[in-house]
Symmetry: D2
Subunit: 93 residues, 4 copies
Amino acid sequence: MAGYTATKQDHLRRLRRAEGQVRGLQRMVDEDKYCIDILTQVSAATSALQSFAIALLEEHMAHCVADATAKGGAEAEAKLKEASDAIARLIRS
Amino acid sequence: MAGYTATKQDHLRRLRRAEGQVRGLQRMVDEDKYCIDILTQVSAATSALQSFAIALLEEHMAHCVADATAKGGAEAEAKLKEASDAIARLIRS
Amino acid sequence: MAGYTATKQDHLRRLRRAEGQVRGLQRMVDEDKYCIDILTQVSAATSALQSFAIALLEEHMAHCVADATAKGGAEAEAKLKEASDAIARLIRS
Amino acid sequence: MAGYTATKQDHLRRLRRAEGQVRGLQRMVDEDKYCIDILTQVSAATSALQSFAIALLEEHMAHCVADATAKGGAEAEAKLKEASDAIARLIRS
């Protein structure tokens, strides 16, 4: 069982909101809305995706990473490296 | 006419791809996929939205901003400030 | 003359502040300060650099880009592309 | 002892490089260098600070967070929340 099952509904609600924002962007482009207003909506959609990522990451560290580090050894190190790489991708994207 | 009409189809195609990625995220959460794989997909969706924003911004500067600065005066300044604020929001989000 | 000369002192002041923050980070590492406090200071230094970049970019668009687009043609396009690429690097870094 | 002591020299070396880049930025502004070249250097300095933050965060999770989650309870939760908040600040800055 993945660590995020418990709050799955929260995650899905956030993602549906992000999907709605991306569909809103298509409507804005289609209706020739003003560029600056569209760019503001892009920032909102990006922030929504980041909030989802941060919530998921927190859960992942509380479950998968905590379990692995409790056991220690090579698997703990691999899990930490993997989480750290995912964080690096988010910081740089 | 907004400056981005000419390449509207390009913009819509990028946004539909981002929408597909956000829907893919919902499926991954629903199927309890591994957190790290989901986070990788979040980075991809965020990058797609950023690529759209950068393409739109380039067009906006080439049309609206260039038109305004050609006329000069207070409106040119206002347009530049507005574009700069939108860029700041994207850099910080 | 580069477009940013007029507000050079402002830029230098911002950068000296960022330099002070990066030196503060070295002191914190040297004194084994708590990791989380160091990471908070990294966010502050990064924000200071971004503020400088945004101010410089605004000036660049108001001078170099506006001058080039007033003349039009291939050089205007090249200047816009160049500014847009620099913005893309800042959004993605 | 903070978790990052072991690789302190690595961290200090990265930070001295970032400091050199920020001083380089002051020189570029002072010598009226071309804005776009300055912006490229800002991206480099920001990336150097992010690399430092990611390395420090990885160490923090491997030591402080792993120790706390091994003990469990309220302190483990607090440590995870604290790390997650620091990550969120880095992702959003």
